[in-house]
């Protein structure tokens, strides 16, 4: 029986593959390459049988969606979209009263951002599954997501920044996550001519301290010239204590950058000694600057986010802090900077070049000791190029962007222009293999691939363009990920799958490091929401002037109360809905006709609040939106809205007690 099934399934795949091949041939000529290295056993490699779990979690940045997509690997199945920087009506995120505060900034409520780089927390250089961080590029912010709940726990704004791109790369024990500005901005922000860029604009590299409980605050900012600080990675092992940032636009131009910022043969990698910075902070060798930024955090007991405004930041300047920053000349507007698992090699992915420049940490330290400087820029010593280069990967491709590592001493670099991933040997710099991507790969990801201990089984290529790879969906097409098996000598393409938004970087982690800690529900007895109702006996309606507070509960399959009267046009009705369920996977939804915001989706044990401002007289239904039980369709109720000034008493109830 089993062998028959095997035979059948293999036969089926053969038919599918032949179909693919023929179909592709009809469209274009050379399609051997297009189908990649697909062979008949590939399907079984990505097939996760029904009811079984994937081996890895993959966290894909949403790019212009502002969110994080959680996929399983190797199946590619989408498990969840975590709302981070963008409002999400589906979950009420940013619409309910509890989560609005997470999106507060010094510019007010900002309901969208552009999230590029997820970064898992680390302990001893290994991903530990506690949190994942991600940057908001547009209105500079940094978020921390709790991996016990897969919810955004904290968002901190980054002051003196023009775009938080080189972020949030972590140090070996998550002492810090970093936030380097991509765009130079006046320092401090002020009304000056744009043409005074070189004179008035600056760039800052921000180090955000992460406490044991996850709480974040800005430890210090390093003030540098107004280069564009593109990407970063922290040292590990021997280079622990340093963080490396790539730069472009060392020309300090403010217009037509595609030409004007591509003139210097070499830009820099800025090496920041953050342990030295800690010494300068401890000795008081900093300037305290007045500024304004917000820190928003979610209190899991109160089920509510809070905002606080911060007004001071510590600034370190290289002129006053010798040994804090060095510049490593790196050819051709380097994009990614990636540190190998040993911490010795720092790869500069010079995106306008065909070569990869790899700096040696040991040589860098020797050069610093010997004072082998070729120049000094804004108080920062520029190390001699020849003294720090550890090796060059020659003619590997065109447009190198990012490098990840496996556990066998190999590196993998994405080449955007030639649309391929190139595998090379760390130390000998020889190119071992190339695999095409479809099309125009940006970041790549190997689970643990930027940590001390990569799990080199799969590589995910995150592509910017899909063109003809999927069924067309009008002018806007999905972006995609491609999964490669990298366990052998040659990379093998396994499959494509679409991703939400635009994936930039991603992170992967063994499911076993996350799964055991995942919460199933919130214990009701720990609920400290100020408007909670701990049982149906607590359900009630209270009026305070124009504000009507409905303390509502949900349990399969009714609301309490489900009939409400005495509410008037012009009232602000706060539905504080507590889900009394204490079982896994039993959320209830709440929606009311004419609401100008969204629904609520309340997890068991949680309280969430929808503000409803009735504008018309009438009787309006509300109902549960999440199919919760066999009697879900019956989970509904009514609220009566009387004219402003009407003389209808406030009344409420359920069943026998209904008004």
């Amino acid at each position: 029986m089993k062998s028959t099934l095997n035979f059948l399934s293999r036969g089926l795949w053969a038919v599918v593959l032949v179909g693919l091949f023929l179909g592709a041939c009809n469209n274009q000529g050379s399609n051997n390459q297009k189908a990649g290295m697909l062979s008949s056993d590939v399907a079984s490699q990505v097939y996760v049988p029904p009811g079984q779990h994937d081996e890895f979690y993959a966290f894909m940045s949403g790019g212009f969606s502002g969110q994080i997509g959680v996929h399983g690997l190797p199946s590619g199945r989408l498990l969840r979209i975590i709302p981070v920087f963008s409002v999400d009506a589906e979950k009420g995120y940013g619409f309910n009263e509890e989560t609005k505060a997470l999106l507060n900034t010094s510019h007010g409520f900002v309901p969208w951002d552009d999230s590029h780089h997820p970064e898992l927390s680390q302990t001893n250089g290994e991903t530990d599954g506690r949190w994942i961080f991600i940057n908001g590029n547009n209105t500079p912010r940094l978020a921390r997501i709790d991996l016990t709940t897969f919810e955004t726990a904290e968002i901190i704004e980054i002051p003196n920044s023009g775009g938080n791109h080189s972020s949030p790369f972590t140090t070996e024990n998550t002492e810090y996550v970093v936030a380097g500005t991509r765009f130079g901005v006046p320092f401090p922000q002020q009304d000056v001519p744009i043409s005074s860029y070189a004179e008035n604009f600056k760039g800052t590299l921000t180090f955000v301290k992460v406490e044991e409980n996850g709480a974040m605050d800005i430890a210090f900012q390093v003030l540098l010239p107004a280069f564009d600080y593109d990407l970063a990675h922290s040292g590990k092992g021997k280079s622990h204590g340093w963080t490396f940032f790539t730069t472009y636009n060392t020309e300090e131009q403010s217009t037509l950058l595609e030409v004007k910022a591509s003139q210097n043969d070499k830009d820099y990698i800025a090496a920041v000694n953050w342990k030295k910075a800690e010494e300068y902070i401890a000795s008081g060798n900093f300037e305290e600057m007045e500024t304004q930024y917000m820190r928003n955090y979610y209190d899991e007991k109160k089920h509510m986010a809070f905002s606080e405004t911060k007004t001071k930041v510590k600034i370190l300047t290289p002129e006053n802090c010798p040994g804090l920053v060095y510049f490593l000349p790196t050819p051709k507007s380097p994009h990614g900077v990636d540190v190998d698992p040993t911490g010795e090699y720092i790869v500069g992915n010079g995106k306008l070049s065909s070569d990869l420049t790899v700096h040696s940490f040991t040589k860098m330290m020797t050069a610093i000791e010997n004072g082998s400087f070729e120049d000094e820029v804004a108080g920062v010593p520029v190390l001699k190029f020849d003294e720090v280069v550890g090796g060059v990967v020659k003619d590997a491709g065109l447009g190198p962007l990012h490098t990840e590592f496996d556990d066998k001493g190999n590196a993998y670099t994405s080449f955007f222009i030639t649309s391929e991933v190139v595998k090379w040997k760390v130390g000998t710099w020889e190119v071992l293999d190339k695999a095409s991507t479809f099309y125009s790969v940006g970041h790549i990801m190997i689970p643990g691939g930027d940590s001390k201990s990569p799990e080199g089984k799969y590589l995910v290529a995150l592509n910017k363009i899909t063109k003809d790879r999927y069924l067309p969906t009008g002018p806007e097409l999905c972006h995609s990920a491609q999964l490669y098996d990298i366990s052998g000598d040659k990379m093998k393409l396994l499959m494509d799958f679409p991703t939400q938004g635009e994936p930039h970087y991603a992170q992967g982690i063994s499911a076993g490091r996350v799964k055991p800690n995942v919460k199933k529900f919130y214990p009701l007895e720990e609920n400290e929401h100020p408007f909670r109702a701990m049982g149906e006996k607590d359900a009630r309606v209270e009026r305070e002037g124009n504000n009507v507070h409905v303390y509502m509960t949900t349990i399969r399959s009714h609301f309490a109360p489900d009939n409400i009267e005495g509410v008037k046009v012009g009232d602000n009705v706060y539905f504080h809905v507590t889900n009394l369920e204490q079982d896994w996977d039993v959320p209830h939804g709440f929606s009311v006709m004419g609401a100008n915001n969204a629904e609520l989706l309340i997890m068991p044990g949680q309280t969430e609040t929808l503000l409803w401002k009735p504008t018309k007289v009438g009787v309006y239904p509300f109902y549960c939106t999440d199919f919760c039980s066999a009697l879900h369709q019956e989970m509904q109720g009514y609220i009566r809205i009387s004219p402003a000034g009407a003389n209808v008493d406030l009344a409420w109830g359920l069943g026998e007690s209904a008004p």
Binding site: F521, P523, I555, R556, L580, E581, Q582, D583, P604, S629, A630, L631, E634
Partner: protein, 182 residues
């Protein structure tokens, strides 16, 4: 005899009976644990979840406060334990035998009482229940496995019962050995 009597007190620490409900939506089952003095489950929310399931078919909610046995059973067991200790000190072999038989009789009564509660919950249904199955009973089995609508219900004695059983065995063993000596 002394050891056997004290074993009775250990029962408090363990459930005496368990009822496991299994359905596709409950892959790891819902396990209700019945103790001498309380009703709980393997999860903090078990009782609430059982009651939510039961309310669809009109079964009464299981409210531990309204089950008097949970209050007076503990006193009976403590009383038995004290009585056993006294008998051990008195050291008359026929009393050991009588004690063992008493334990068996009381166990039988206890199980019968449990059956009555199960019968009551399973048959005494709210006529306004949202889901009605004419003639259906939702009584879980006393011991063993039974399919009830979409659930498979498994009812089994739990750890506490074994200590009770050990106490019975201990009284007979005491009786047997004191007989030999005489």
């Amino acid at each position: 005899m002394l050891v056997g009597s004290l074993l009775l007190l250990v029962i408090f620490a363990f459930p005496i009976w368990k009822i496991i409900l299994i359905a596709p939506q409950y892959p790891s089952g819902v396990t209700m644990l019945i103790y001498l003095n309380k009703i709980g489950g393997t999860e903090p929310g078990t009782l609430q979840n059982v009651n939510i399931l039961n309310h669809y078919v009109g079964m009464k909610p299981i409210e531990p406060d309204s089950i008097p046995e949970l209050t007076y059973f503990p006193f009976i067991v403590i009383g038995l334990s004290v009585l056993g200790v006294i008998l051990a000190l008195v050291n008359k072999r026929n009393l050991f035998l009588a004690f063992g038989i008493l334990l068996i009789v009381l166990a039988g009564l206890g199980v019968y009482d449990f059956y009555l509660w199960e019968y009551d919950y399973g048959h005494n249904l709210d006529p306004h229940a949202p889901i009605k199955f004419p003639g259906a009973s939702f009584q879980p089995p006393l011991i063993g496995k039974k399919d009830i609508i979409n659930f498979t219900a498994i009812s089994l004695p739990a750890t506490g019962i074994y200590f009770y059983g050990a106490a019975i065995v201990a009284s007979f063993v005491s009786w047997w050995f004191s007989k030999k000596k005489a």
